[in-house]
Symmetry: C2
Subunit: 364 residues, 2 copies
Amino acid sequence: MAQKKHRSSILERRKEVLESLSGLGGKIYDQLDTGNFPSVTMPSRSTENIYYDPQVRQFILGDRKVKRSARNIRHVKPFTQLTWAALFSNELTSQRKTSTLRDVYYSAQAYEMTFKDQQESNNIVTDLETVLGFSREDFSIFPEERSAIFGDLTIEYTVPGYEGRTMNLTSHPDGVMIGPALTSAEFVKTTADKVIAIEKGGLFTRFVEESVHRRFNALLVLTAGQAPRATRHFIRRLNAELNLPVYIFTDGDPWGMHIAMVIISGSANAAHLRELNTPDAKWSGVWATDIVNYKLPTDPLDEVDMKRLYELQKDPRYKEDPLWQREIKTFMKIRKKAEQEAFSRYGLTYIVDEYLPAKLEETK
Amino acid sequence: MAQKKHRSSILERRKEVLESLSGLGGKIYDQLDTGNFPSVTMPSRSTENIYYDPQVRQFILGDRKVKRSARNIRHVKPFTQLTWAALFSNELTSQRKTSTLRDVYYSAQAYEMTFKDQQESNNIVTDLETVLGFSREDFSIFPEERSAIFGDLTIEYTVPGYEGRTMNLTSHPDGVMIGPALTSAEFVKTTADKVIAIEKGGLFTRFVEESVHRRFNALLVLTAGQAPRATRHFIRRLNAELNLPVYIFTDGDPWGMHIAMVIISGSANAAHLRELNTPDAKWSGVWATDIVNYKLPTDPLDEVDMKRLYELQKDPRYKEDPLWQREIKTFMKIRKKAEQEAFSRYGLTYIVDEYLPAKLEETK
């Protein structure tokens, strides 16, 4: 899979996705025409073939390949399923419809294509991602999860019925949902000079109410827990296309820390893909050291939290920047965690008036 | 608690909320002025005092009362906490800020008011609801959960900075989030003649893409699983203020059935409140009988599902309409469940082209 360069045009990207699908189909026809059993080759996604690459600052796949060939009786079924997934993705993408992984599983039955279970059908979609180097969202297969954005960014829709229509993302003060329509929109203009990603809905609302977008010239992104892939890709686009630095605010615990890490360095599950992470994004808090410095109300770290910290300590992504190891050690030492809302013990707006500017400065 | 009549004006309601808070404060001052220990009396929320009322078609509280008096040493703490919660709600509501239950818990510390844990602080907020007969959303305390709406309804914001601004809810094709700003908006105009509430995000997106809002003159509401209270109140407003019938589509299993039921008849937890349910809303599917009639792909009902069915069978809310008992019995007989997405086995648009119109007609 070749790494793709950033492209400003959504339409150009869609064309490319469709071309890659036709390319796959063409190759299969060519093999058949020349009297060969059709086959596809792709990088192996087995654990032994996943490496952390400090250059691109994410997990990547190594050189091992797997081949699916219609010649091999054991491959006939997954090969056919893969071909069907490509056909279905092509239909979705060219008809401008979106779907979910669950829908893909059931839709197969309409084509008398059967999957043993949801897991089998999910794996085939991941195979298709691996073969073509695009992510399932590019093939119009979206997750159910939703997150939101708020701030002065004008976008232009490309979805059917809305082509050319623009919207400013301050239009709805509850936040604008990051779904298929928004992720396929072009960026038109912004006055923002940074992106602030926030884990919790309550804090996102607080930031909107306190006009953080205006006071700090920021686009506010609600990740709503672990950011969905579509949102991670969207954050990357804000960073790459608009040159906006990204600051991430999460709860002060191993899980919040990892929400930030996955936005920054991606996940091992997506080692076959690029363009889902934002390597230069910063985790701005709540750090373990913030818990100490700001004397926040805390809960004790339980066994599961501690176990997670030991795992993260050994994770190559956490060895990139000494910040991570320092914070892991501090968590282990204080054995305490704190939520973002804990700042309310100093009043509802303390987090916006005092903590936020201090941390934006500190992690600049 | 007196039952409140529908009011069209959000601003009027806010005024009423603030008056009820001042009223509570005034009563306490009066008691102090006349040399009495201050006290409040409210209906008991204990299980023995919760009854199903077929008249209002929801659970209500009976005649038992509890009294919190500053004279009783064991009541001093909860009485003080309740008074603080009223003070804090008054600040939030008059300053037009919103908060979450979590934030209330931490904010108490800014006032040197302590709660043992989150549960204790949640209970006090419920006490305040019970005393004054408004729900916590009226006191500007919102849940984190988010759901969405899409369709031809023009609303007018009342939140600070947006007063008088209107928005049409077809503006963003990913759906418009139902948060504090939308739930406090006035309804200006609509061409819709019904509301369709949908459990799953994937299906909501499908409905938007297939222009269900135009083809069926409908406002589409995504409940995103169990509808948050703010969304249930919002659905009620659509029904009451705009006279729109409400049709609910969920997964075909006991959990989906109950998502519909809670929108229709509310929950026992909210027996102290009105205005959260929509008694005339219809559960339109996926019924157990639909699973049979449409030959849907299914999963077996497991033990937890079966146990839930036995519970629901005895629930007074499920004795209102013979439909519920029939469907419970059918589920028990076929021992199968099906998701909304299962209709994709007949093609992605079958659910919109065939199933939806048939069920809207059947449950009219």
